[in-house]
Subunit: 497 residues, 2 copies
């Protein structure tokens, strides 16, 4: 056979693949998203579904923060929650940051942290109670439920960070696909796959996968803690509804575990490798795409940086909560650099901004990360930004603030693709030197380029992979053959022993 | 966006995919196969590698049973083992079957089974000792090792059923890919992935994944037994070589676990779903392809069956060991059926063959299974045949003989795609009735068609998936980012806790 010729099997693969790319058939998908940055991801998946000919209905609350009532690519179902707690505003999360910074500034006594942690648990419970109200409103509304039944949806697509959609899917008897990284009270794998604490760092602790014995003890303790939170704080909120609407004998946790396909927003160039399951499909970085051209103004600014290039900074939507004394130090450090700086900043404008620094309330982050003149990305470590920097091979200066951000930037740091700063300890010098180190030492860029090249070395784009498996579940009315028996185990320990 | 249009991401996926299918670059692969039916699989993978432009060298022994010294798609390296034990002959395995049947016939006392089991353990040790001799011959031959180093291989491809290639790969410092279902003393997953005994049936016991408490106890006992065999019978054979050639402090088991990619000959339409690992790639059924036309003679015979269609029977290469009293009962049962029968039979010809039965020493199994007139497949439950029957949607009558065959057919039986017979209990009537039930009751065919449709619903043909990942490892000089830390755990229990 001549070299490189396509044999019959390759031709078959190509035909299957072309048929996936070109076939249009119309399925019906009911979507339960999570608001905020999670919606950015889900919205892309919905656009993908729409472009492949499917009809999408998005369930949103009347007070939704990001999810618009009308859009060309979906119709929406708006649920009004009585006495809504105001968690769907950015400020709600900003207040967390302010409190945490205040505690750290005061020396951070264990009691202060404990009380902060306790408050977070209370908030977690409130968030889930509010989210569960969407389920109550829907399940109580017999006419609505009948209408949903009559629509004959093929699938419920859920972001299980707030997993109320699971109840509605159960009531409608429909297969479910999760678009997931976080679930109830931790990373998604911890609910569905064995997670040996000897080498799988648990959620909420910034630990590596190569742990010392003491780190393993710490990890096991946190694993137990997370399990308790899940069992005693989060799940009871939904178990009450399960008992009310579906009778006793069912457990919400088992319903959660029973999802057909878990589209996991994870790629192992970023996440530590760990045990997985046949019904977990990895789609980390599915939001990444080649850069579009910048606006003329931005392009002019970027080009004016010459050979020095430019640095992009974005600390996400929480940056409003950073006190001015920190942003002033950052501004002063930037002013001393030869690079141009583009800084996404929605809070109070620092007085000492350098001439090289452009402040913007919003910026085309993905297009800037894909620009050839970019030298580094100063980021809080949100996963969207991290995957975009991996995709584009841009080294990172991590300034984690809250939630999963410390764990995220640790993963890049361990791979030599980032340096991490403690936001409460930042000085003008330390910030300047760290940024310079990441910009000038090829070590960071080379490592990030390697991650980028590994990440791009896939037979299919992860968004296409996601769409393939969503359609797989619609075509086959589920994916039971990929779901282990673990989710039926009466005791959580049985699922891993 | 118009329905079904290809958006930019799909176009990117297509470009990546087309580039995979058409790009030819020449890598060098050193292959350590296992003889017998395993070679049939490995040979297909080698043909795929050759057709994509890679140079393949196959390591074989001078007494090899199936692996030819010369072939158009590979060059070979022949190792002569002094005082070779004659395990590379079919008769060696046939004798096992004869012994087991004799024990069962005599009533099968526990002592007789224990003694048989003990003898099998002894044989297992001998097989591995002989296989390890290939490693000794190679590692002792300094000139040969230097020549291999100079050839600058990119990769060692190993069937770890006999894992001696792992030692040579270690000596050459090369990344490894496993083409695996069986490893050392059990199914491959048990070495590399967490295997909760609550729902993962262990190798060597025909248990379902939905187990009773007693079955779980039995499963856990067998899991322990297999672990002991691995630790005290198989691994010591190779550990002695590891110590001799690489010094102490290294463990062969860890080397085995450290393979870069595990191409697992498993698909979950067949295997029970179970925990897996990021570096396990599923290629079950990669040998399957659309049928080629039959020879004129065979086609005439098959067409002469009219609407009744035909039944295919093959009990693999071991059928020579079946006593004539059993084959006579089978022949008598076939003679009573309205279907035509094509029977692969290399042993003594039964005297009572019906006119409807054609006996052949070899037959184009895959093409016959793909023929529209086939009604059922009577099979011993070897995995090649099982995947071909799944691919073609042909229901199975299982007549398992030895090794993994009872477990294999149990999996199909649980899915309603097969009925299973105990070969020692076969009567003419039971055999006839079972075959008729599978042929005439649409339940079996419908279930098998469903498995077939699920199996075929993949974005890429599994052989292309295998080739993609082999090339991935060559391109990236390994796949360390997909390999968990579990393989470095000092104690096996740590890897799952």
């Amino acid at each position: 056979m001549p070299r490189g010729s396509m044999d019959i099997l390759s031709r078959l693969s190509l035909l299957t693949f072309l048929s996936f790319l070109t076939t249009a058939w119309s399925g019906k998908v009911l979507v339960f998203p999570v608001d905020g940055s999670h919606w950015v991801n889900m919205n892309l998946m919905i656009q993908g579904l729409h472009s492949r000919g499917h009809e999408v209905t998005v369930v949103r609350t009347a007070t939704s923060w990001y999810v618009k009532e009308t859009a060309p690519h979906y119709s929406s179902l708006t649920i009004t929650i009585p006495e809504a707690i105001c968690i769907e505003k950015e400020d709600f999360f900003v207040s967390f940051l302010v409190k945490m910074l205040a505690i750290k500034k005061e020396g951070g006594s264990p009691m202060a942290f404990l009380s902060f942690y306790w408050e977070m648990l209370g908030t977690l419970s409130i968030i889930h109670q509010q989210a569960s109200m969407v389920g109550v409103q829907m399940l109580e509304d017999k006419a609505l439920m009948q209408k949903l039944r009559d629509t004959k949806y093929d699938l419920v697509l859920i972001d299980p960070g707030l997993p109320v959609g699971v109840l509605v899917a159960h009531a409608l008897g429909l297969p479910t696909v999760f678009n997931v990284r976080w679930i109830t009270s931790g990373e998604g794998h911890f609910v569905v796959a064995p997670s040996p604490t000897s080498y799988v760092p648990t959620s909420g602790v910034a630990l590596p996968d190569k742990m010392t014995f003491l780190q393993r003890l710490q990890n096991t303790f946190h694993y137990g803690l997370n399990t308790c939170i899940d069992k005693f704080v989060v799940c009871p909120v939904y178990d009450r509804l399960v008992e009310k609407y579906f009778g006793s004998g069912l457990s919400f946790y088992h319903m959660l575990q029973a999802a057909d396909i878990w589209l996991m927003r994870v790629d192992f160039v970023f996440e530590f490798p760990r045990p997985t399951m046949p019904n977990i499909v990895y789609i980390g970085g599915f939001q990444c795409k080649p850069p579009s051209p910048l606006s003329a103004e931005l392009e002019d600014f970027v080009q004016s940086s010459g050979d020095h290039g430019f640095i992009l900074m974005s600390l996400g939507t929480l940056v409003k909560g950073l006190p001015k004394e920190i942003t002033s130090k950052i501004a002063a450090a930037f002013a001393q650099l030869p690079q141009k700086i583009i800084w996404r900043h929605a809070g109070e404008r620092p007085d000492n901004l350098g001439n090289n620094t452009l402040l913007l309330k919003w910026l085309p982050q993905s297009d800037l990360l894909g620009h050839p003149k970019i030298k580094a990305f100063v980021s809080h470590g949100g996963t969207n930004g991290i995957y975009e920097s991996i995709y584009n091979g841009v080294p990172v200066v991590g300034v984690p603030l809250l939630f999963d951000q410390p764990e995220n930037v640790l993963r890049l740091e361990i791979r030599g693709a980032a340096k991490v700063l403690d936001v409460t300890q930042i000085t003008t010098e330390s910030f300047r030197d760290t940024v310079q180190e990441v910009v000038n030492n090829p070590f960071y860029r080379d490592n990030m380029k390697r991650l980028s090249s590994l990440h791009r070395d896939q037979p299919m784009h992860p968004l296409d992979t996601a769409l393939f498996w969503i359609e797989f579940v619609m075509r086959n009315k589920g994916a039971a053959h990929l779901r282990t028996e673990s989710y039926k185990m009466p005791c959580r320990a049985f699922a891993v022993l």
